[in-house]
């Protein structure tokens, strides 16, 4: 039980560090740390496969891409001119309001679902695979279009122009 709270505390701390660290590279590293805490959350939630995928996709692929681009642009120092303190405060207050209203509007959560089902198997790759390739076959296939479009687009936008226009 206390494991959840420790990890949740770490998640929040790391997430805050992500957005309040000046050095972008440090931000990326904190984000990786945040994602790692998420992986632990997944394990606690009995979503083992998700934990693995989160580890590989987010920490392995996505974050590497971020780091790569940061390095490519030589932005590893804190070159970013920060917003004025006032703007920061206003932004933080706006975000705080959002949190308060979000939580406030969910005020009395129905108590029926406060405990987890005993079904420990759903997070296993076998079960997920069954659902993914039966019920969710169509969206799964369609995600290929999404990835293909992204791939074409990324190449199109980021490649160097051979024409000197």
């Amino acid at each position: 039980m206390s494991l959840f709270y420790v990890v949740a505390f770490l998640s929040i701390i790391f997430a805050l560090l992500v957005i309040f660290t000046k050095n972008p590279v440090h931000s990326v590293l904190y984000l990786i740390a945040t994602f790692f805490t998420f992986t632990i959350h997944y394990i606690i939630l009995n979503a083992q496969f998700l934990a693995v995928v989160n580890f590989i996709v987010y920490m392995g692929a996505i974050m590497v891409l971020f780091l790569f681009v940061l390095m490519l642009m030589n932005l590893n120092t804190d070159t970013e001119p920060m917003k004025s303190t006032l703007l920061k405060v206003v932004g933080a207050i706006a975000g705080g309001c959002l949190l308060v209203t979000l939580v406030g509007s969910m005020k009395t959560l129905s108590s029926a679902s406060t405990t987890a089902m005993d079904n420990t198997g759903i997070g296993l790759v076998e079960n997920l695979g069954k659902v993914l390739f039966s019920d969710f076959l169509l969206p799964f296939e369609l995600s290929s279009i999404l990835l293909l479009a992204a791939m074409v687009g990324a190449v199109l936008l980021a490649k160097k122009d051979n024409k000197t226009a």
């Binding site: 932004g91 706006a94 209203t101 406030g104 509007s105």
Partner: protein, 632 residues
Amino acid sequence: MIDLVWLIPLLPFIGFLINGLGRNVLPKPLIGTIASLAVIGSFAISLSIFLTFDAAQPQVIHLFDWINVGSLSIPFAFQIDQLSIMMLLIITGIGSLIHIYSAGYMSHDTGFGKFFAYLNLFVFFMLLLVMGSNYVIMFIGWEGVGLCSYLLIGFWYSNGAYADAAKKAFIMNRIGDLGFLLGVFLIISTFGSVSFTEIFPKAAGMVSGDATLILITILLFIGATGKSAQLPLFTWLPDAMAGPTPVSALIHAATMVTAGIYMIARSNILFALSPVTLDIIAVIGLLTAVVAAFIALTQTDIKKVLAYSTVSQLGYMFLGLGVGAFTGAFFHVLTHAFFKALLFLGAGSVIHAMSNEQDMRNMGGLRKKLPITFLTMLIGTIAIAGLPPFAGFFSKDEILAHVYEHNKLLWIIGLFGAFLTAAYMFRMMFLTFWGNFRGTEDQKHHLHESPVSMTFPLIVLAILSIVGGFMGVPHALGGHHWLNEYLSPVLAATNNILPALSLDHATEYMLMGISVGGVIISIIIAYVKYVSKGYVPKEEELQSGISKLSYNKLYLDELYTAIIQKPLDALSAFFFKVVDKSGIDGLVNGLGKVSIEASKTLRLLQTGNVGFYIFAMVIGIVAVLVYSFIII
């Protein structure tokens, strides 16, 4: 014959298509012929329908289902009854004459083909307006004529002021349209239908003074004030004189501006059940009539005089509607169409002869040079002044008789306006046709009577202005008021609600006597001032009417001037400057400014900064959450 009714609007539309597409290819005479023939053809059909139509119930000719949505069905259908037949005759009849006239008037214009295309299109929409069997078809016509009017006012757009006039007409009409549209939507939600034949029987069963009905009728009346140039939306009409003169005659005198009256007459049962609205209409109409008459007193542009006169006469029509004289108001629509079209065409003939000079101070003594124009215009002027037995006498007298019965005070003011009418109209005649020629040598040399294509319509209209009144000779004068009987099927339900005229003949004779006597005195005053004394208004007097007034008042020897002439002029100047130019224009321009300012300010929100955009989004989301969960 009635099966051919769809041809009536179709012919002008075909004319529009041919002239519109072939405007640069076809020779001018052919364009003029096609356009005129199209309208004449419609006139022939209308005439034959008029001669054969004898049904007591309106005939609805269903063409096709236009919109079907849920229980609401809007057919594309025409309604033929006595009211629409009379309007058809006016539109196509006077329309034909004006088309013929235009062939001569516009012969030198480079936009000849375009002009006739627009004119045909206008006739098409006007016919839709009066023939539509429901409010939505009427609205199509309503918008269409507005559009054509807009295009035709701005026809000579190379002149910037003209384009501005078009814009003004447009804005004011849109305000009116707003009322009309809201009225129609309210009708839909109240009656579940837009067809006249379904709404009116339902409405007849409602109690008088029903709040919804009052709201509907007020909204419809707002629509009418825009289209028919009533207070406070009348200032676009004088400016609309920027368009070619035949346009002024057709659109801004005979047909389009009477659309508001037609619409109210068409919905007579709704209005009859809303006494409050009727009172508002009467007051607005009367105010418009008098204010416009005052302004007309000092105008020097011949077309502006006629324009304000039109506004004033439209005011009388609304006054008639307001006191429940639906027949009388409609009668005035008919006679006014005759003599005002005549006057405009006559003015056009003068302008044509004077090489596009419109200022009366540069005219004078034209009666010998333009005899036909002079004679016909004189007839028109007598008709509008209301001397018997010319057309205007009967219609105006009928309205005033109803007003007298309704409210004596309104009657006195209305009568006063009628005297003013005689005064400014004869002022115009005397300045233009009497005295010595005041223009340049060049213009004098060029003076000529207009070609037959222009004088022929003048003569026809002059004859109509003489005899047109006989369709409504009151019982007091030994007639039996044919128009009243003819229109009675349309007004049957209303006549059950509103009391009929109950004046005895002696009172009627007295009323006629007073009005004729007053008119004659007005004419004599105008004669003394403008012919005997040869007075010609000067620029500076017009400029500083009010300040000079206070100065000159001190001289007692100018008693006449000070007591009668100057106050009138001053009032005229006051109305023109304060009400027309600064008041209403100011208000309309102000509205425009407010929205433009709002636009400027709102636009600044679009800062281009993503950070700000996202911030605004978050605020929006918080607001939405708060609104959804806390406020509600």
